[in-house]
Amino acid sequence: MYEQFRAKAVGVGAEVYRFETKREALDFVLPFLEKEGLADAPGSYAVWADSPFLDGLDLKALQQLPGLRFDVSRQLSSQAKFGISQMEWAVADTGSLVQDQSAAEQRLVSSLTEIHIALIATGNIVAGKAPLFARINPKTSRYIAFITGPSRTADIERVLTIGVHGPQRLIIVFVDELGGERL
């Protein structure tokens, strides 16, 4: 299912990576941020919303990176270039990511920023909407968000253009070590 997901997600303009461990994922994410211009200045921050991925990591060490912030706010997110969050489900047949985003910070980091880095447990890929809908519940999740590729429009002359109001890039990082349902 990972390969199907990857093909569909890449087909709609997402960038997809997969790592075995959280360490390896971090070794990808942190240099990526630096390479793309992370800095302690408006327009260059990275905001990281509360994620199970962070459990057991040395946050203090991460905070040493200039510009990487965990105190997500509207103000900070609107000045951030990067938003990092963990999504709960990946849907193979459409290349979509799904998460309960009832907490506003989850939406701020994934909608106001230019580049959204989405972490996800490789074990949480489902085949399609039917198995997905058996796992999501509007009674307990007030804002269920589906994200499929970057923000797009074709409103001017039907020309596909990426990055209108949401992120221009969606970087999906699968981490096997995060476990998930099929582990």
Binding site: S111, S151, E157, R158
Partner: protein, 711 residues
């Protein structure tokens, strides 16, 4: 039709930007849509959606009440109203109570429907549309021309001009750059807005949820950043169960934009915390605005199955020529005609309902299984009931309803030698016209109608008989098609009868809303065609076959003449189109063609009624191949030729360019012959090639097959 309306059509079809953009889009759409639906059983999917939506429409009041109860239990405020004015008052009151100065909106046709922006702005509130297309038309002071792509009629140059004015800087026409301008201009407004207004694509009663389907990401910001969120939802968006979301999400993006899924889908169930820790003030307005009335009308209830994907516009041969603004209302195209007739008033649809050529393309792609052409016919019928027929139409149908007079006049036209040039009635007779319209010649009335030729044909006697229903065009303009039909059936050992008292099939009257005339035609034909004991009633005109096999019963039922229904059914069961019958005879080994014939390339034009109502498309192709032709498909082989009966006379400015595309597509195959099974299409396309001078031969399939019979 009103003069201003005609003028707006002429302007639209001559607007090269518009027709170029729409034409390109519509051609690409068909291919992309098919790709998006690969591996999906579309018929099963749309049956499921129709069932879900129709189920909710049956009991709108109860479903709406369940939604209200469940959404309120979660903390949302739900307001139900029938009246658009009350919607506007409610929203304004919420704004005033909360000191709202600025509003950001994501796309909502329901707010367009009630002209909400104007109301808020007149009351001193600043409103920014944030969907790129909606923002463009807001800056231009226009209404959306398409429900999914509101600004599809505009060029990048026009957009660049609008944006340049807005940001007070001369911008280039580079589209990514223009999109960037929109992002930068609208971002501060999102962050500062006091209120967000959205629509909803689905509202789930069971869970009190609303579902938003978007691509740009603006709906996520509208529902997240401002402290107040108001969702305006037409009650047709209601479904009962949460699992109903799945099939609608499977279909909506595929049908709307040929995507597997849009970039964003949000399922919101009750208020969520704002980023400052307070709880969102969430209002959901369920607006009726005549939808319940519509749901109670047996002919229009199906309109509530619409999921607002716009695919009916994307495949419409008329929409791709004229665009949306000709329709004059908020909702455009075929579905827009129906919604305008209800949400505004029936009279408002008087002109625009005439734009539908009844080709049925939209019925093939509609994910809600709406029969838009049927509903438009019903609008026509009701308009005629309300206003009566025009004098000209009355005169025409007076003649058509009197077979002897009608046929006598057709004969007179032939005797006169200069058909249609004199006599006011003749020139307006349905399917026959006096003037040579630009780009198409019209056939002369045959010197000898089929009914006269028929008597001279010597037929082998047989116990197996077929009654031939010729229809006006074959009888009086193309008798050779009828002769070919007799030859084909005789060869298979079937004797053909020709009941002389047969009259017009009633299609011209029906498609003009004159149901009483159509019903009278139906009754006369039923009586005549059931007189003899025949196995088949065969026709070589698909429109006539549809009348015999489908419309007679439906028309009589609509008018309550139920005593005729059993006979109509008996006739329907015997009725068959020629291609289907001949294919059956060939398959049974009763007919065969000369062996080894190499007749070269041919292309085939699918007639609307044959392909989409009678579902016949492979049979004629297989027969032509068996007869020795090599069938080469043209681009858009099943796109209407623009004839549409009297349509080509009422709206020649639309019919002519449709014909031109058809001629071009035929010529591009390089085939010297084009075959078709409808004498109306023969008249249109042959007339077109006669003017065009390219020498492509236009033939009814029956004639081509009869020439190749063995023995």
């Amino acid at each position: 039709m009103k003069k201003e309306f005609k003028a707006s059509i002429t302007r639209a079809v001559n607007d090269a930007n518009l027709t170029g953009a729409l034409g390109k889009f519509s051609e690409a759409y068909k291919v992309n849509r098919a790709k998006a639906y690969e591996g999906i059983d579309f018929e099963a999917l749309r049956s499921r959606i129709a069932e879900i939506k129709s189920g909710a429409a049956c009991d709108l009041d109860a479903v709406a009440e369940t939604f209200k109860k469940n959404a309120e239990a979660l903390g949302a405020k739900v307001y139900r109203t029938r009246d658009p004015q009350e919607v506007k008052d409610y929203i304004l009151q919420v704004a005033k109570d909360n000191g709202v100065k600025t509003v950001v909106k994501s796309k909502s046709m329901a707010t367009e429907e009630i002209h909400l922006n104007r109301h808020l702005m007149e009351n001193g509130i600043s409103v920014a549309e944030t969907d790129l297309g909606e923002w463009i038309i807001q800056l231009a002071g226009q209404t959306p021309s398409h429900m999914v792509m509101p600004a599809i009629h505009m060029t990048k140059e026009e957009v660049s001009d609008l944006f340049s004015k807005e940001v007070d800087e001369r911008l280039s026409t580079d589209i990514p750059r223009l999109v960037k301008v929109a992002r930068n201009e609208l971002r501060p407004r999102f962050l500062a807005a006091d209120m967000g207004i959205s629509g909803a694509n689905i509202a789930v009663a069971e869970t009190g949820s609303i579902v938003l389907v978007t691509n740009e990401g603006n709906a996520r910001l509208v529902t997240t950043l401002p402290r107040i969120h108001i969702a305006l939802v037409g009650v047709e968006k209601l479904v009962e169960k949460f699992d109903a979301v799945v099939p609608i999400l499977d279909a909506l993006p595929r049908s709307a934009t040929a995507q597997l899924l849009t970039s964003y889908v949000s399922i919101i169930s009750g208020p969520t915390p704002n980023d400052d820790g307070t709880l969102k003030d969430l209002h959901i307005i369920l607006m009726d605005n005549r939808r319940t009335e519509m749901a109670r009308d047996p002919k229009f209830k199906q309109a509530l199955q619409c999921i607002r994907c716009g695919s009916c516009l994307n495949v419409c041969p008329i929409f791709r020529l004229v665009g949306g603004h000709v329709f004059g209302g908020i909702y455009t195209g075929g579905i827009g005609t129906i919604l305008t007739a209800w949400f505004d008033e029936l009279q408002k649809s008087e002109d625009i309902q005439g734009l539908c050529i009844q080709c049925g393309n939209c019925t093939q792609v509609c994910p809600g299984k709406l029969d838009i052409p049927e509903m438009i016919l019903e609008i026509r019928r009701r308009l005629v009931l309300e206003k009566g027929q025009s004098l000209v139409q009355k005169a025409i149908f007076g003649v058509v309803n009197n077979r002897k007079l009608f046929h006598g006049m057709l004969r007179a036209a032939s005797v006169a030698g200069r058909p249609f040039t004199s006599g006011k009635f003749i020139r307006h007779l349905p399917l026959f016209l006096s003037d040579l319209t630009e780009g198409r010649s019209l056939p002369a009335i045959a010197a000898e109608p089929f009914r006269d030729s028929f008597r001279k044909i010597e037929q082998p006697k047989s116990r197996e008989k077929a009654a031939f229903y010729a229809g006006c065009l074959i009888d009086f303009a193309y008798p050779e098609t009828g002769v070919a039909l007799v030859k084909l059936l005789n060869q298979a050992g079937i004797e053909v009868t020709f009941p002389e008292a047969q009259t017009c099939c009633g299609a011209p009257a029906l498609y003009n809303g004159a149901y009483d005339v159509a019903a009278q035609n139906a009754v006369e034909n039923i009586r005549v065609l059931l007189q003899e004991d025949v196995k088949y009633v065969v026709s070589a005109c698909p429109t006539c076959t549809v009348a015999l096999a489908h419309e007679f019963g439906r028309t009589l039922e609509t008018l309550g003449r139920t005593e005729w229904l059993p006979k109509a059914k008996e006739l329907a069961e015997k009725s068959v189109d020629l291609a289907t019958l001949v294919k059956q005879l060939v398959d049974e080994g009763r007919l065969s063609f000369k062996e080894g014939a190499q007749l070269g390339k041919i292309t085939y034009h699918d007639s609307c009624h044959l392909k989409r109502t009678l579902k016949v498309s492979e049979q004629p192709r297989e027969l032509l191949q068996k007869a020795g032709y090599q069938v080469t498909e043209m681009f858009e082989c099943d796109m209407c030729c623009g004839m549409g009966g009297s349509y080509s006379m009422k709206l020649p400015e639309i019919s002519a360019p449709i014909l031109q595309s058809k001629l071009r597509n035929i010529k591009e195959t390089g085939a010297p012959v084009v075959a078709m099974d409808c004498p109306g299409c023969v008249m249109q396309i042959r007339g077109g090639f006669d003017q065009d001078g390219s020498g492509v031969r236009v033939k009814h399939t029956a004639e081509l097959l009869a020439d190749q019979l063995k023995g």
